[in-house]
């Protein structure tokens, strides 16, 4: 373990923190933007509470476009936008912008699927009881879909951990970047292995937490 000097320990710790910040902040933004987006897609979609094809189609196309652009290209392509939002185009803060964008599109689709799983009969019953569209969204769709929404967030978090490894390309830092710089470019496979191990444990933890929450909330 001669390679694990105090300096290297600090590097690992800093990198882990950077990963946490990138994943956490972009996930938070993705949930905040992705959920309303998913609700809009679901409500305006075919068979939704208020079908509006003129809004639904372009919105769906936009989400798909963002999802089909490879992350590494998305990151570079939106640099002007990143500079506008974050004030800089390099660093951990700057990396959050493309990560959040990619995660929002990804999560919007996953959320939409979870919302579509809600029993149409429960929605119909709510209509029969005189619920308004807003009440159906807030009291039926979201609460009934909650376990599915949590599962979607879990999947998105795990994917974000993977995406964040690419953030090194714009100086975002994080564990993935550390693994590449030290493990690959400086021939220190033990650093690479440690990074991978930490990521495995981290992802496993996220997944277990997500699964536990879903089980707790399901009541099925």
């Amino acid at each position: 373990m001669g390679w694990l000097t105090p300096t290297m320990q600090d590097l690992l710790l800093d990198a882990f923190w950077e990963t946490l910040v990138m994943v956490g902040a972009s996930a938070a933004i993705a949930v905040a933007v992705g959920l309303p987006l998913a609700l809009l897609l679901q409500v305006t979609g075919r068979g939704g509470l208020r079908p509006l094809p003129w809004l639904n189609r372009p919105l769906g196309l936009l989400v798909n476009a963002a999802r089909s652009t490879p992350f590494i290209i998305l990151m570079v392509a939106i640099v002007p936008f990143t500079r506008l939002v974050a004030g800089t185009s390099i660093g951990t803060g700057a990396a959050i912008v493309p990560l959040a964008l990619a995660a929002t599109a990804f999560l919007a689709r996953l959320f939409e699927n979870a919302l579509r799983e809600v029993d149409a009969g429960v929605v119909e019953a709510a209509r029969a009881m005189g619920a308004s569209r807003w009440q159906i969204v807030t009291k039926v769709l979201v609460p009934e879909a909650l376990p599915g929404l949590i599962a979607a967030v879990t999947v998105a978090l795990v994917s974000l951990v993977g995406f964040s490894a690419m953030a090194g390309a714009i100086g975002g830092g994080g564990l993935g970047d550390l693994g590449i710089r030290f493990g690959y470019q400086r021939f220190m496979p033990e650093v690479m292995a440690t990074v991978v191990l930490i990521l495995i444990v981290f992802v496993q933890g996220l997944q277990s937490l997500g699964d536990w929450l879903v089980r707790r909330l399901s009541h099925r």
């Binding site: 009969g121 429960v122 019953a125 709510a126 009881m129 005189g130 308004s132 009934e144 009541h219």
Partner: protein, 355 residues
């Protein structure tokens, strides 16, 4: 908030007139000029095969489905004339129970029952008090904090019924409410609906594909086929004197003569110059207790075998159904049947005996 109207205006509880609905342009109509009136306080059944349009029909009563043409008047109010807020308020005065219960999986029994009250903006404390009144009504006091997944089908439907009654509606719509339940639970739920109707002065409209449900609780029934009402009337009348072939088939499910296939073939051949005919006889009306068979045998010179027989009850009125094998001269049999019909008995010879 618009208070739900609990006091039916004079006149029918529901009046549907000239309803038309077509889902696909050029396709078969789901509703084809349907008109119907429900009297306040009655249990009205609509029976039909799947695809007959009965589900569309019941869903037009609270405008879950908007008809292409026609009018929907509930408790004297023209629902099609209401704006969205008005329609939502009107819907709170119409309870609805569903085949698949449609409960919120993540809400407890009490929270499910309180949902319509929550939607109507009732404060939490008042809601709890109302739910506490409703639970004993459906016998679920012990399950108030259970989740739907922990309940049996019958218990889930009890929750559905309590939820439908939470806003104290005067009208209850039952959309195949017992079709997902076993026969024993079905009987239990039907008895519950009937007793709630009596206690709460409800008017009930139910749709079903099971004639047994109609027989158990309905006062009047309408038979639907291909988007039209082909026959309607008091349950006892429709059951004992069905006019349409479809109605006869439905009625046969419940009134069945119980004659096993091949019975006619096993009877000895009629003597030369005579006939042996099988007939189903419904004994009802004032002469249902008269010794009709021995009189017919004596007065018309006929030999009569009783192949099967039983006594049943529809909507509280008793009737007997018998399968007779009658042997004699053709003219004598015709005369005997004519005499029996004159007494108010219903005689049918073209029954599907093999069934």
């Amino acid at each position: 908030m618009h208070p739900p109207s609990h006091h039916p205006a004079d006149g029918p509880a529901i009046r549907l007139a000239g309803l038309r609905k077509r889902f696909a342009a050029g396709g078969a109509p789901a509703l084809d000029d349907v008109s119907l009136e429900l009297r306040t306080g009655e249990v009205f059944g609509i029976v039909g095969r799947s695809g007959a349009g009965k589900s569309t029909l019941i869903r037009t009563v609270n405008l879950l489905e908007r008809p292409d043409a026609g009018s929907v008047t509930v408790m004297g109010r023209d629902l099609l004339a209401l704006d969205e807020a008005g329609l939502r308020a009107a819907r709170r005065g119409i309870g609805m129970v569903f085949q698949h219960f449609n409960l919120h999986h993540r809400r407890t029994v009490a929270e499910n029952i309180g949902f319509p009250l929550e939607v109507a903006g009732m404060p939490a404390a008042a809601r709890r008090a109302r739910v506490a009144e409703l639970l004993p009504l459906v016998g679920l006091e012990a399950k108030r904090d259970a989740f739907p997944a922990q309940l049996s089908g019958g218990q889930k439907q009890r929750v559905g019924i309590a939820r439908a009654l939470a806003s104290a509606p005067s009208l209850l719509l039952c959309d195949e409410a017992t079709s997902a339940l076993d026969p024993e639970t079905t009987a239990e739920i039907l008895a519950l609906i009937r007793s709630l109707r009596d206690r709460l002065d409800l008017t009930v409209l139910l749709i079903t594909h099971e004639m047994g449900v109609v027989k158990a609780i309905c006062d009047r029934v309408a038979v639907m086929e291909a988007g039209r009402i082909i026959e309607q009337g008091r349950v006892f009348e429709v059951f004992t004197r069905p006019a349409q072939p479809t109605t006869r088939r439905f009625v046969a499910e419940v009134i069945g003569h119980g004659v096993p296939p091949g019975t006619l073939a096993r009877l000895p051949p009629a003597p030369p110059g005579q006939q042996r005919r099988l007939a189903q006889v419904l004994f009802l009306g004032p002469h249902s207790t008269r010794p009709v068979i021995s009189e017919a045998s004596r007065d018309f010179g006929l030999d009569i075998n009783i192949v099967s027989g039983r006594v049943d009850e529809i909507a509280g009125e008793p009737f007997g159904v018998m399968a007779l094998a009658v042997c004699g001269a053709a003219a004598a049999i015709d005369a005997a049947f004519g005499w029996m019909r004159g007494l108010g008995l219903v005689i049918e010879e073209d029954v599907a005996w093999a069934g």
